[in-house]
């Protein structure tokens, strides 16, 4: 790769991220044409199929339109909203999770069954195992949170939480969010989840809410920290604003 690549993901995902970054930076205005696939392949030193996969990822997100025999043209810039679902940033999704999942945890504490608790406890152990592997997935983490949402016995609550996780997965910074934000603090993550489980087992709504808030606050902090590492100066200002915003909202 001529350019820097960050994640341990697949090449096409890294390349798609790079292209999205260049789009966001304004390298290719709306309506302009991206370089030819062969040129991109040569520039990034990858094969053309890989370039095609990355461009298809952009196409599915509604960022570019591919015209046969002509090229890939920019439809909209990342962040502008008309494409459903793909405009929420990792911070926004996590903030929404902080607000919603905390309340869901409180409700779940009043509704949780012994079967739910058994399932959640099993997932707790899976999370511990999962976190031992630096390249592990976050499937157990996702299942843990969804199990809590399901324990509310409220379909609307569950679907809302489920949608947030779908948004999270589609977020451009999803990988970053998962990687960096967690690798920094493995032990606390397990402890935080344990605290949530214990509050649920105690059927204590207030404790469950508090434990969930603590956990997701830590996730946000890790996310902001990870973002800071690669942020420009202007991004730093936005982060500072977010930090105070979050502090006020949770006060």
């Amino acid at each position: 790769m001529t350019q820097e690549k960050q994640g341990n993901d697949r090449l096409y995902q890294d390349l798609a991220r790079l292209l999205i970054e260049e789009l966001a930076r304004g390298d290719y205005p709306v309506g302009s044409r991206l370089p030819a696939e062969r040129d991109l392949a040569a520039r990034f030193n990858v094969s053309r199929p890989t370039v095609r996969e990355a461009i298809i990822a952009l196409e599915v997100q509604g960022l570019v339109e591919v015209r046969i025999g002509s090229g890939a043209y920019v439809l909209r810039l990342p962040g502008s909203e008309d494409a459903p679902g793909f405009d929420a940033t990792a911070f926004e999704v996590t903030e929404a999770r902080l607000l919603f999942e905390s309340e869901a945890a409180a409700l779940a504490a009043t509704q949780v069954t012994d079967e739910d608790l058994a399932e959640i406890e099993a997932l707790l152990h899976q999370i511990a195992v999962e976190n031992l592997d630096p390249n592990g997935t976050d499937r157990a983490d996702r299942a843990f949170h969804l199990a809590i949402a399901r324990a509310t016995r409220n379909t609307a609550v569950f679907k809302a939480v489920e949608n947030l996780w779908a948004l999270r997965a589609s977020s451009p910074e999803a990988a970053l969010m998962h990687e960096k934000a967690r690798s920094a603090n493995i032990k606390p993550v397990v402890e935080e989840h344990t605290a949530i489980f214990q509050a649920l087992r105690a059927r204590d709504p207030a404790a469950a809410r508090a434990a969930m808030r603590t956990h997701l606050s830590a996730v946000i902090e890790g996310l902001l920290f990870a973002t800071e590492e690669r942020a420009l100066e202007e991004a730093r200002r936005a982060i500072a604003a977010k930090r105070t915003r979050y502090a006020r909202a949770t006060a």
Copy 2:
């Protein structure tokens, strides 16, 4: 192609559509694994790169998760992102709104702009007018709540609240919820919304959260009351359970 193809699009798009159809038809439940890329290529008589492109399209849409060396696993079924769930009851939706919109209001109180306040105040007046007509709609009510969600400046929060209102509209008891639950108390509804607005104008998160909780608690009470009128004896027991559940969760 062994199977029928419809569009004049590119092969990968046709194939992606086919796979989504099969997903929707239930051929591959959530969590199950799709056939191997080579098998799909043989079955549809296309090349493996084409299959890969189609799967990447599904992956970007958050439908499947691809695990290296293992396969592509179904994350969610198509349509579950915004397709109205027919199984969510009016009570569930309102309960979810109580949990989520209260937190959204608290966040909005820290983010609301003067323009937002002007819009919300205008909608407040519309709500008052709307409630004078016993056969009026609830458009202003909906716009009021969505404006608050938008004032959070968080796309994920707004979309979640928006989805709840979509669920509400598709709920079987939607009409009942709106009619009965409101006709019983016209004046309080306006007062409750006014309290929410004033808390937002004061930029007071705690007050905004409390005002929203008060309002939606009243909606739930009205909903339960309306339900009681037509409920059988067994329904009464369920309602009593819900009442205590709700009381505990908000305590």
